[in-house]
Subunit: 413 residues, 2 copies
């Protein structure tokens, strides 16, 4: 059936949370099929299945083996792929369900957080040639030993993006429960506007800065292989947001969005002897403990001593303090303190590369709103400020307005 | 670790219905391990998981595709094998979970009721050599296309028996929620006694006659390959019932057990022209419709016409009557009637081969109890009578007593 092209779609757990939603997804897939597209559809586990399986495993063993954990978790997506396929059959659409291993997804076998190392989509090509919509169980692949390995958080998005690349798909659509990528979180900023287009780099900054629509790793893969990506809602027919490479003058925006991240805590080690290599010795120990550090700030030295502050995920705070206390004694620093009552406010946009005044504007806006900045961090296309948690929403709203990100007023009437 | 031998065990869904029971099963396995046995353990899906998955599938599609049905169903055993393995790890026992395909179980690919065609237990041998208890997801194997196929009812028992043969295991233990095989259903006959030993053939008759502990297909495989089988409870430490080949003078019993089957209905086609080939023409059509017939009785012919009665499973009754009505018109028989209000009472024992008086005793016992016999059927080691359903329990109790199957009185005190 002369195909109009190949589309890879991904539906998240909330899109297939119950029988009615599974039927809705099937109807959507059927409508694409009737338009003449070939389709490979990646599906997550039903609703809260994954969390329920984790709870069950932990009730049996508080420290379950990663290999068996993956074997258990993978059942969620295997089940949802079979169910979605049955729903398509009921609509008269030819379809076949495949597990990650059957789809030819090979991983490094690092259980619970495996990386995809290769995709050999022979079976998928066969099934497309037979006229089938191929429903792939997301989040999983084969280990080098022939066992099941899962891809960790955002694993189904990654499956979709990696398959879109391997299959040379024309488009990869990520269906979720939001309408797309917004200039700010609509729950915080009322005038937040859905973006029609955003670059991979901007999306990467937003992903790592707390906009939780997609994990950074999937966007990195999409960027690396130039996979055209659309994020859109499975609950309506709105067009969503296209994530693509940078286009000259794209939407002409300096700042594309404002984000708020409340997941971090600030840690400070004070009275650190100011000598070469001291920062390295601190962060080497932190890194050894598997803790990711975000913003780092070192204050100016006074009297041969300096203060070093950084942020870590709140979940890692206790471990960080343990490690840091050992380091403090070793390097003879004065004390270690922590502050969980902070948040990170960031502005993102590729346009700011050519607009040196953006940082100044940001600081000015915060100052005008009497919001004290505790730490500052910048990348080529983003600026982040750590402020007290209670100022987070106020800061985001003020910045969103100051950079003109709000909804455009309708011209008529 | 110099092994004392290899045991294959199977635990049914009720044995792993919740976290506490899974832990109990793990403790039992650990105790075998500590005694020095190598172990391969086949496990069913948790409690009612399989039924829940079937309901979910039917809510989405009343007629789900067998291939995807199997993919869905197989998740139940995959999950329970992973969970049981985690429970063993918690007890410090080395263990690894394998799916049916990973265990090298190859089937004919007849989805939802596949037959095992070959077992290549290379991976299982490897894992045993590494010192692991191997936990195998029951009920499933690989299709010739490399997909997941399930083995149908009793599939986990079959997995265990077939693995015990392929691995040349010293013993195959089927753990269930009853203490073993009884002389009669203890819910019906108060004095019913657990048997220490029973032959494959007797067990086959009991299985097909309504004693629902094990499916006939697993016992057939055990018989074919002389796999020594024990049926016992996972809830206590009682020794269970050994199922084995016939041993001269084994327990010296003529009748080993009495069974009751309420699942059948009687169908009669009356006024059938009595000419050669007429029975064949009837049962060919019934067979074509995929209906299994149990007892068949043809009455003596009078005036060139005869009556033919047979029993079918109640679930097949409606279809049987449809087929039979067509046949009736074609062969010009008088009428078709059905009776669901019947049951089948059977006595089983290899000893009756050499005791011609057993049938007479059975008929006499029923007559004394004023129970009318509607149909009679015999095999080499069993005799069955169809009687009105309301007489079932009475008949079983009377026969159980008459053949001396009750509990032996204690000699002391």
């Amino acid at each position: 059936m002369g195909s109009k092209g190949l589309i890879v779609q991904k539906y998240g757990g909330s899109s297939v949370a119950n029988v009615e939603r599974i039927r809705n997804v099937a109807r959507r897939i059927a409508s694409y099929r009737k338009k003449g597209y070939d389709l490979v559809v990646v599906v997550s586990a039903l609703g809260d299945t994954t969390d329920e399986l984790i709870d069950l495993a932990h009730a049996i063993n508080p420290d379950p083996s990663p290999r068996e954990m993956d074997m258990l978790m993978a059942t969620g997506e295997q089940a949802s792929s079979a169910l979605l396929t049955m729903a398509l059959h009921r609509l008269g659409i030819k379809a076949v369900a495949l597990t990650g291993p059957q789809s030819g997804i090979y991983t490094d076998g690092d259980y619970t957080r495996a990386k995809i190392v290769n995709i050999i989509p022979k079976r998928i090509h066969q099934e497309i040639a037979r006229g089938n919509v191929v429903i792939v169980a997301g989040f999983q692949g084969l280990s080098p030993e022939g066992d099941i390995a899962t891809l960790g958080r955002g694993g189904s998005d990654l499956t979709a993006v990696a398959l879109a690349h391997a299959l040379k798909a024309d488009l990869c659509e990520i269906f979720t429960d939001v309408d797309g990528i917004f200039t700010a979180d609509p729950r915080i900023v009322k005038s937040a506007r859905k973006l029609d287009v955003i670059t991979y780099d901007e999306m990467l900054e937003l992903a790592s800065l707390g906009a939780q629509v997609m994990q950074a790793r999937s966007i990195e893969v999409a960027k690396k292989f130039s996979v055209p990506l659309i994020v859109r809602s499975s609950l309506n027919n709105k067009p969503g947001t296209l994530i693509t490479e940078e286009v000259e003058g794209m939407e002409g925006a300096v700042v594309r969005g404002v984000s708020l991240d409340k997941s971090q805590a600030k840690v400070t080690i004070s009275g650190v002897p100011d000598r070469p290599g001291i920062a390295a010795s601190i962060f080497k120990e932190i890194s050894k403990a598997g803790i990711n550090v975000d913003v780092i700030v070192q204050n100016v030295s006074s009297e041969g001593k300096t203060d070093i502050s950084f942020t870590v995920n709140k979940a890692d705070l206790r471990k960080t303090l343990e490690v840091l206390e050992k380091v403090r004694r070793k390097i003879k620093a004065d004390k270690v303190t922590a502050d969980e009552d902070i948040c990170r406010v960031s502005i993102v946009g590729v346009g700011m590369r050519n607009h040196p005044g953006v940082a100044a504007t940001m600081f000015e806006v915060l100052a005008k709103n009497k919001i004290n900045i505790e730490m500052i961090s910048t990348s080529e296309i983003s600026i982040s400020c750590i402020v007290k948690a209670r100022y987070g929403a106020k800061a985001v709203n003020a910045l969103h307005s100051a950079f003109g990100l709000g909804k455009k007023r309708k011209k008529s009437a």
